[in-house]
């Protein structure tokens, strides 16, 4: 097939468009100008962000709302380094993303040219793969490979660094290229013998438990999972990122486990005789002290990434494969054991140790979240920032379906929530998108208010304003004798006025009595974005809590009377 000549940049944008990409998020600069020029004639819509980190979180939010790679385009040097936090955030949570960085011309590489940064070198530990494009003819193949790598297997970010002389070079592109990745293979079906063993274990277990992680969400295993849990009558717990993998309102669901999980989920984990992880990596947030984690339970691990098997927990049975395909096969082999007593026990725990919060005194963040869940009927796409509000949102905003919970888990990146909501709203223009953010994290990327406002995105930004870096303050209160250090957010702006400064609508909630009325008004407001500032109690703490590095049995349900021992876990 004969092609007309074009620039490398034009071929690049053409390939990205061919892949079905509608939006690119980013910020321009000298080394990327040829690529921005190519965007002028492309149907792809470019979304100018106010900071490159914002662009990465928007692409991330879009990816988590769709399962397809989000695309970022930035310039060299500082533009490129500003994407690193977002790349690492995506990598930690297995989110597909393509980050294209402009680069200085090849003859100047390594000579400390203006705005030259070795971004490929800087990003090695944070990417699934990366490219420095040295030959314009490679562009069609590299773009094809990059999307393939980013979106398949265990997804992740791919960085493509393009020197300006490559993006500016004129050539005759051949789009009819094959990918060339001899070192890359994607596990699909699991080993049938192992799946059969797994079925035997499940049939024998008296107190089995399913642990749903992000992998189940990514692989769309929800349907198979629901059929399996119902057929075998097994209770289900989920990780922070597993929210939506199995309906949290389902009677078999015990909610989130781990550090700030529900008491009944953690009690079930501590007491089960079999725990089967579907796409979770037994992260330290959910296991606590490894030596004490379910010592007598049979552990089954289903994961698409062989490197996860045996990394944290030595499983009794492991299956490497796509979670959906593995569960579908397991479904046909699985036999129901006797779980009635176990289910009764779980129901008892649920009654005995419900999630709760004080109804007296000042405005409670939990109440605000409980209400926004009720008023939005649990249908919203919820993004969060990182901190206490994130944990409360995870506890009180139950998630029933895939792609409806978007939160930075592995990285815990403050500043993630609001830009992620922007990306999600672009992907799902008709959906109700709520960003639950803290007053601290929100200020890390608040410049993206302009991006939300100018694009008239009807995102609802709920700021849980406790005037503190609350989660850190909580640790200092519980483990460091209330010696507050570096956590007071004195100097916060007036967030309602801030909204107005961007031409947005601002709502304020100060009292319990205002909550439903104001939230209803805010959710009904659709002329662009709005901020809802909830001035909550300053020194409330998140419970239940398992101190970092402690056994699940050391869970505390409410504020202890005396100071607690300093946690042994890292953070």
């Amino acid at each position: 097939m004969a092609n007309k000549t074009c620039t490398g940049a034009e071929a690049l944008i053409h390939c990205i468009h061919q892949h079905g990409v509608e939006y690119i998020f980013g910020h321009p600069g000298g080394a990327a100008i040829p690529i921005f020029d190519a965007l002028v004639d492309s149907p792809i819509k470019f979304i100018l962000t106010r900071h490159e980190q914002g662009a990465t979180h928007m692409a991330d939010g879009m990816a988590r709302a769709t399962g397809k790679a989000g695309v970022v385009l930035v310039t060299s040097g500082p533009g490129a380094t500003n994407t690193i936090t977002g790349i690492m955030t995506a990598a930690m949570d297995s989110v597909p993303m393509i980050v294209i960085t402009g680069q200085t011309i090849q003859s100047m590489l390594g000579l400390d040219a203006f705005q030259e940064a070795d971004v490929v070198g800087i990003s090695y530990p944070a990417v699934k793969h990366s490219y420095l494009v040295r030959n314009v003819n490679d562009i069609p193949r590299i773009i094809k490979e990059a999307f393939h790598i980013a979106e398949t297997g265990r997804p992740g970010p791919v960085l493509i660094d393009i020197p300006k002389d490559v993006s500016g070079a004129v050539f005759e592109p051949n789009y009819n290229v094959e990918i060339d990745l001899p070192g890359y293979s994607i596990p699909t079906h699991g080993d049938t013998a192992q799946i059969a063993r797994c079925a035997d274990f499940l049939a024998k277990a008296k107190k089995p438990l399913l642990l749903v992680g992000h992998g189940a969400v990514i692989s769309d295993a929800g349907r198979a999972l629901k059929l399996l849990a119902e057929k075998l009558q097994i209770p289900v717990v989920n990780t922070l990122l597993g929210k939506g993998g199995f309906p949290e309102t389902h009677e078999l669901n015990l909610g989130m486990l781990g550090m700030h999980g529900t008491a009944y989920a953690n009690k079930a984990v501590a007491d089960c005789d079999l725990i089967m992880s579907i796409g979770s990596r037994w992260d330290d947030r959910i296991c606590g002290k490894y030596a004490a984690f379910c010592p007598d339970a049979v552990k089954i691990h289903i994961d698409i990434d062989p490197a996860e098997i045996g990394k944290m927990i030595k499983p009794d049975c492991s299956i490497v494969g796509d979670a959906r395909l593995v569960l579908e096969e397991l479904l046909s082999m699985a036999r129901k054991g006797d779980t009635e007593d176990w289910l009764a026990q779980c129901r008892k725990w649920r009654k005995q140790f419900p999630l709760k919060y004080g109804k007296q005194g000042g405005l409670k963040a939990q109440y605000v979240l409980d209400e926004i869940y009720r008023i939005s009927k649990g249908k919203a796409i919820v993004t969060t920032d990182v901190g206490q509000h994130q944990m409360w949102a995870a506890q009180f905003y139950k998630t029933d379906s895939r792609f409806h919970w978007i939160s930075s888990g592995g990285a815990g990146t403050m500043g993630f929530g609001m830009p992620a909501a922007i990306g999600a709203q672009f992907a799902r223009p008709d959906a109700l998108v709520i960003a639950v953010v803290g007053d601290g994290g929100f200020q890390m990327t608040l410049s993206e208010l302009a991006t939300a406002a100018v694009n008239k995105l009807p995102i609802k930004i709920l700021i849980i304003n406790n005037k503190y870096l609350g989660m850190v303050r909580q640790w200092q209160a519980l483990f460091f004798e209330n010696r507050y250090s570096g956590v007071d957010l004195e100097g916060n702006p007036n967030f309602v006025k801030l909204a107005e400064a961007y031409g947005m609508k601002g709502f304020r909630i100060k009292r319990n009595a205002d909550v439903s009325k104001t939230l209803a008004a805010a959710l009904a407001y659709n002329d662009g974005p709005c901020i809802i500032e909830a001035e909550v109690e300053k020194e409330d703490n998140v419970f239940p809590m398992i101190p970092a590095g402690s056994a699940i049995s050391e869970m505390v349900l409410e504020a202890p009377k005396k100071a607690m021992a300093k946690p042994v876990g890292s953070t």
């Binding site: 699934k128 790598i149 070192g183 890359y184 990434d305 045996g310 990394k311």
Partner: protein, 193 residues
């Protein structure tokens, strides 16, 4: 893709294009924590650093590293000897295999393989000691590759242990310089490395 280097390399049987990053003093006899790892990787810039980072992040020290184009010049062979916690090694191998540029990575510790290393040793050699040193050289089947008034350069190949032993024997004459290639490994028989 095949380049000239590959042809030379394949034909005369010796590694003509070896790059050795680090070769520690051979005093450290391979202990339980020494591991022999082989990799088949894409022959591209940046591959080495991705591999090195996997070791570095998990506290492994790379003792020796040999990189050469494979028979198919599209790929390179890497042989790495590294030391660290044995239980970390499994994770390192898995993480190496996860790299897009790695076709495969294998641990050969405690496996039957052919392992060879080459060393150049420049030893102090006044004329009155020459016969004595040449006797040692002969014992280890090494070759004299350079000779001066006061020094002798020997080339020796064989197992790491053999090279260590020869080094020990020459030590008392005063070794001025020594370079070792690091271990290269190949599986015996029809098995793949």
């Amino acid at each position: 893709m095949a380049n000239g280097i590959n042809g030379i390399n394949g034909m005369n049987g010796t590694a003509t294009k070896l790059s050795v990053i680090e070769s520690k003093g051979a005093k450290a006899i391979p202990s339980g924590n020494q591991h022999a790892i082989s990799l088949l990787v894409n022959n591209r810039p940046g591959v080495l650093i991705r591999i090195a980072l996997v070791f570095n992040r998990r506290g492994y020290n790379i003792e020796s590293l040999v990189v050469s184009p494979a028979h198919n010049g599209k790929f390179s062979r890497m042989n790495i000897t590294a030391s660290g916690e044995p239980k970390t090694l499994e994770q390192i191998i898995k993480q190496l295999n996860k790299l897009i540029d790695v076709i495969h990575a294998k641990d050969h510790t405690d496996e039957v393989t052919v392992e060879k290393e080459l060393a150049l040793i420049k030893v102090n050699c006044p004329s009155d000691k020459r016969t004595e040193i040449l006797q040692i050289a002969e014992h280890f089947k090494s070759q004299t590759v350079d000779l001066s008034e006061s020094t002798l350069m020997l080339q020796v190949t064989g197992s790491t242990e053999k090279l260590d032993a020869m080094e020990m024997m020459l030590d008392k004459y005063g070794i001025k310089e020594m370079v070792r290639t690091g271990k290269i490994i190949m599986a015996r028989g029809s098995a793949d490395t």
